[in-house]
Amino acid sequence: MTAAITAEQVWTALAAVPDPEIPVVSVTDMGMVREVSVDGGGRVTVTFTPTFSGCPALHVIRDSIGEAVRALGAAEVEVRSTLTPPWTTDWIGEDARERLRQYGIAPPSPAGDTGLITLDPELTRCPRCGSFNVRMTGSFGPTLCKRLYVCDACKEPFEGFKSV
């Protein structure tokens, strides 16, 4: 049954596909879905971009995208990935940043064009009390996209998004 699925329906469906490592945001919130196209025969093509090239959740994301589109009744689904342009945290939407903060993860600061050998990490504020009086305790965190911090104002340990 090919009752004309629209690209808009696909985008809406993908907005409900969670990021497998940070389920409070979706793959569209993260800016990972780059393109959706539907041809006359009801064939859907979704192009996504990986956040980090070594991300172990890539195949989960690929499968979840395929499932979500098939659930709409698409005749055929192709999930492609692309590296260009490279993913940046600047693509994470405003409301998703707020949800990250409420979840206890400091959202990323603007990526900009930092030099290759900047030893100072980007400015980060505590997601709990908002203080900038924070210390980075680990420049790598439990997932590739995050670092570990402690807030010296409210004493809360927290994770912060790397700015990429």
């Binding site: 192009t47 990986p50 980090f52 090239s53 070594g54 991300c55 172990p56 890539l58 492609r80 990935s81 692309t82 590296l83 260009t84 342009p85 490279p86 993913w87 940046t88 930092t114 290759l116 050998i117 900047t118 030893l119 990490p121 305790t137 680990g138 420049s139 790598f140 965190g141 439990p142 590739l144 570990l148 790397k162 990429v164």
Partner: protein, 265 residues
């Protein structure tokens, strides 16, 4: 990792063969260094560093996957077959990354020396006339930046820390220094790739590397660069390895070779 969307641009057979060799060497450096880093999992001095090094190893493997995917587009080879079913004589990694992990100082200093080389190579490779490689470089360089920040800070911390940490990092420098120059030795057919603008000139990468690394080691960290006769360990090519590589591969490849038909890992 992905279905290719970019058809490999037309290359002459010579350039194609040279590019396959170069991509293999790039990937092999990453695979072997990632394995050395992963040996610290569960053994690093503190939990945060255990996590950090596991992350770095994962990134380097991710970069190896990107390079081997480019190779697959050229010759249809399979990344897992290349990683797990080649013996040491067929590996093209540099000897620097084969050396045993040593102590924490050696691990961090090697990572710093290599990260700086990789970051600067990737930065330059963003201008490759071979679009798929330029894209991969643009992706990977953004990740490499975090490795470099991390390892540079550790080198500084150890150099300016205690007498013991300083002794260890200086010893690590003496051990590793003779192996550094090999990173900047082109493969036999690499000159043609450079002329065609496909890959960066290693001499130019070296010049930038010297600026970043020597300044950090000496000015910032107060370390003494070892005297190095000539250009160090550069006479043998990448087909020549230390005695450490076969042992590393034996461990890394054991599971894959015990179950060569496994489809799910």
């Amino acid at each position: 990792m992905t279905a290719p969307q970019t058809h490999a641009p037309t290359l002459t057979p010579e350039l194609r063969a040279a590019l396959i060799q170069k991509l293999t060497a790039l990937a092999d450096d990453e695979i072997v260094l990632a394995h050395r880093d992963s040996e610290w999992t569960g053994h690093a001095p503190i939990l945060e560093e255990d996590i950090a090094l596991a992350n770095i190893a994962q990134d380097e493997l991710g970069h190896a996957t990107l390079f081997l995917e480019l190779r697959r587009e050229l010759d249809g080879s399979d990344a897992d077959r290349l990683a797990f079913f080649r013996d040491a004589p067929d590996y093209r990694c540099a000897r620097l990354v084969e050396l045993p992990r040593g102590d924490w100082a050696l691990t961090m200093l090697r990572q710093f020396l290599f990260d700086a080389y990789e970051a600067l190579w990737l930065d330059a490779a963003q201008a490759s006339t071979y679009a798929p490689l330029a894209q991969v470089a643009a992706k990977a360089v953004r990740e490499e930046k975090f490795h470099l920040q991390h390892s540079a800070l550790w080198v500084e911390r150890l150099a300016l820390g205690t007498e013991e940490s300083r002794r260890r990092i200086q010893n690590a420098l003496v051990t590793l220094w003779p192996h550094v120059a090999q990173l900047f030795v082109p493969l036999p057919e690499e000159a043609a790739l450079v002329s065609a603008g496909l890959v960066p000139d290693l001499g130019a990468v070296r010049a930038r590397w010297d600026g970043v690394v020597l300044r950090h080691l000496t000015d910032k960290c107060g370390l003494t660069l070892p005297e190095m006769p000539g250009e160090g360990d550069t006479t043998a090519g990448r087909e020549v390895h230390t005695a450490h590589l076969p042992a590393l591969l034996a461990e890394m490849q054991a599971v894959a070779r015990a179950h060569p038909t496994a489809e799910v890992w």
